[in-house]
Amino acid sequence: MRKIMTAGLCLVTVLCLCAGALAADQTLLVREAEDDELYFYPQQLLTVGDTLYILCSMEDSCSLYRWQEGMAEAELLTEGLFRANRFDTMAEALEYVENAKEPVPGDPEHALGNLVFTDGERLMALNPLNGQLFAFSVENGEIVYEDLAKAEDVSLLRHASEEYSYWLYPESWAVADGRLLLPLMDWNDATGEADRRMIVMDLATGVMTRADLPYSETVTGCRDGQIMLLVRDPDNPYDSEKGEYYPYDLVLWNPADNTTQTVGQLQEEWVNRISYLPAEDALIYMNDTRIMGVTGLTGKEQYGYAPATYGQSSTVVGDSLAFISNSRVYLRTLTRGFDTDDCVTVYGSYMSDGAEAFAEKYPQTPVYFYRDYYGTAEELSQAMLTGDDAMDVLRMSNDEIALSTLMDKGYCADLSGDAELMAYVSSLYPAFRDAVMRDGKLCAIPISAYSYDGWFVNLTVMEDMGLTEEDLPTNMVELCAFANRWNDEWVEEYPSYTLVSYVEDYKEMMFYWMFSGYLSYCQAENMELRFDTPVFRELMTALESLDVEELNRGANLANEDEEGYRAGLFMEGYGVVGSFYDPEKENRASILKPITLTADTAWHPEVHMEVLFVNPRSAHMDAAVKLIKEEIAHLNDTYAHVLRMDATDPVRYDYYDQWVQSAQKALDDARKALEEADEADRKDYQLQVEELERNLEDVKANEYMISEGGIRYYQETVAPAMYVSRPSVFYTSEDASGELSTLLERYMQGQIGLEQLIREMDSKIMMMQMENY
């Protein structure tokens, strides 16, 4: 019986400990900027005793939240703190308060600016507008201010020049021995160089001085009333000989006797924020999603995992780290030597919506990000096999690396056994689906796609020139003839316009468009790449007939009396996949014009696709697949519509209603002003009303980010024509691309003729293809 009771007690104790540990991993505040409050974000974290204070910025004021152990989330203490950041002087702030239509919360005399800090016992702030240093607290819902000192001169906190001035935002702060240390970075307008300052403020007198300390972007209170500085030459942080960043020096500054001591080094690329954990005498910081610590200020080890990659502000509360990331405040228990086998490592990605959702859904499974980069399929495949902490999920674009090589060689785990992933891939447009399937195996999951192969016609230019859509060229051959006509007839007549925006050498660009278009055409039509074909000859014949000396001369040079490029009739290289061009939309400024190679060839926009795939050697296959599913579930609307055939619902702009309301309100105000206006002013007000009426119409016309017409055009015209690009024989190796490029250059420079170009290109390409036989 005693044994059973003992075992029961042990179990209860373990469960309590686990619950305690779990309870410490919390999200204390979730207020996304996209929520109803447009201007709201947590700005700063401050620890006073065992209480965490969260200072949040709002439109007109600051709000203060409080959290203590045992609370599920932070509670709002007050919203009535005056926000000083937007004002330059006290007079401006007071004038704003006086003229505000609704009461402005807070007291401008005790405005909170960039400098809110704590000595660990009370909250303090410096009003930058009047130099008032004060403590503040909230008692019975009321804000209580206590003036401490007044800084006579706050000029060190400002950037001031003849043209403009503004308050500098301290990178971080630390308080020790009655002194506040602030690293500030400014720019010298005359030299353009950084002016980095370490400012010390005496909290008893308010006297501010520039300290003779090495610059440290982040500082924190540390052991024995000292302040820790992370020192590295900010202008030269990278050791190009070793190919790595120089380590930071860990420098302790003792404010009592103004001495410094270097206690060690920290090898990291960049450390954003540091905090101090007294229990372990450890310096705590975040490295992507890893919470790291320098125990005893000497040994680096992991202390935890953060479901976010960037802590804008952080502080230690008890045995936990609180940090702000993406408008959320997280709390994570610090455990020396934190390690877990249950994790998932992602290559080629940062914290995405999907990864965030995964982190929230599976909090015990850290998501780590693999930061090394590999430029070739071979290097990457070696890293996939031999990396100590090998990547589980890889994210990459099909034109970034020879993705098809990795698929062909089995470096992508077969995911076809997962019904959910197969269902997703089945819902994709065939071009994407086919690109990731190999012999019935599902090798990768497309998560985004885009194409910038679109040619758009500027309707203003077209109408000004008296042209109609039917007059415009529809293919490259016709474009050459059109360019010749422009060269002969329109250069002088329309000096403000040119044929294609931003083009300065038409022959070179035309050759580039034709050549790249021809490569795409061969791929899209699954043709073997050869240049001795009627299509290529027709293109080259058109190119050789190009006579655009006048057009080149005035192509895109600035107009005589104004800077800038001339407006082009055509705009090339614009989004055609992902833009959801809607031909049915009224009042368009431009229209999409599919330009083919010749009259007899089809249009094929080249699509670049980004995929996720799993390393077959992954020891965390289950977590990897779950992460991919979260990424799919959190695809943004554009990519979901680009990739999925079943995404057919139009998408409204998030702020459409607000835009309309705002435009309507402006119109109503103007109409009211018109009614009340004197006869002399009525004409101006009438013009303003008409302008605002047009504006309202424009706003109303833009209700949808992805409209029904856009989806229809994409499904009927773009999707059947597009193809996912594959590595061309051109890029088989540097030797291959170099030789073919040299041949093209020789042709363009007139060193070889068309026949020789075609003969040699075909010969070389045939050799390249036969080597793969």
Binding site: D735, A736, T742, M767, M770, Y773
Partner: protein, 284 residues
Amino acid sequence: MFRRKKIVWLLLLPGLAGLMLFYVVPFFGGIYFSVTDGTYENNYVGLQNYAQVLGNPMFQLGLRNTWELSLLCAPVIWLLAFVLSAMLRTLKDRAVPFRNILLLPYLMPSSAMLLIWTLMFDYGGVVNRLAVAMGLERVLWLEGDALRFPIVLLYVWKNLGISVVLFASALSAVHPSLYEYAALEGAGWWTQAFRITLPQILPTAFLVFVLAWVNAFKIFKEVYFIGGAYPTQQIYTLQHFMNNMFARLDYQKVTTAAYLFAIGVMVLFALMYLSKAVRSPSEA
């Protein structure tokens, strides 16, 4: 005796270790690549890569061209070197400057040589100007079939000197009385060269031939400088195939082609060595 042997092995150890580490181990280690498929699982595929490479038209083309170039170059070098060294022998001490001059191209960097060669054989170069002056048509020496001629000439020009030096050292060992006796018997220069000199220096002659042949196999660098990784089909060599496969990181094809080539060379030289004609008198 045993202790002495141990010391010998000890002295040999650094050299042997280097040989093992940098030649023997990689040589046999490479076999692993040639019998696997290079996929993620790296499956064993037996001789499939060998069958594929042997059936690859570019491997066949490279092999054929390499074979043809070496068959063309090696005998030319050998014959010219032999004749020149025999002629230089007659000059006795006055031959030294000529030997040194002949050796100079061997010491020149390939890139510098190639620059001279492209200037000479360019469409508007010295060779074509001479041809025009003689009433002949210009030739595109650096393209197509014609490229073989400057390549062979370049190879001969570069490698002739070292072969002459080797022949000359062997000739110095032939006893002069043999030539005096032959002269008394009425033998002319050609008879002396092929009836006395050649039989006396046969092992060296074989060595020179082997070196000339091996160097001819390595003619890739010059061709690559002129024609690139994908020159005209007439001068695409086996090394082009291997180099291009390496550039594509296709280690399976690179190693397979290298082993096929090594096997071919080894068989060829084994056959030559087994021939009594080229063995030294003591071996025969």
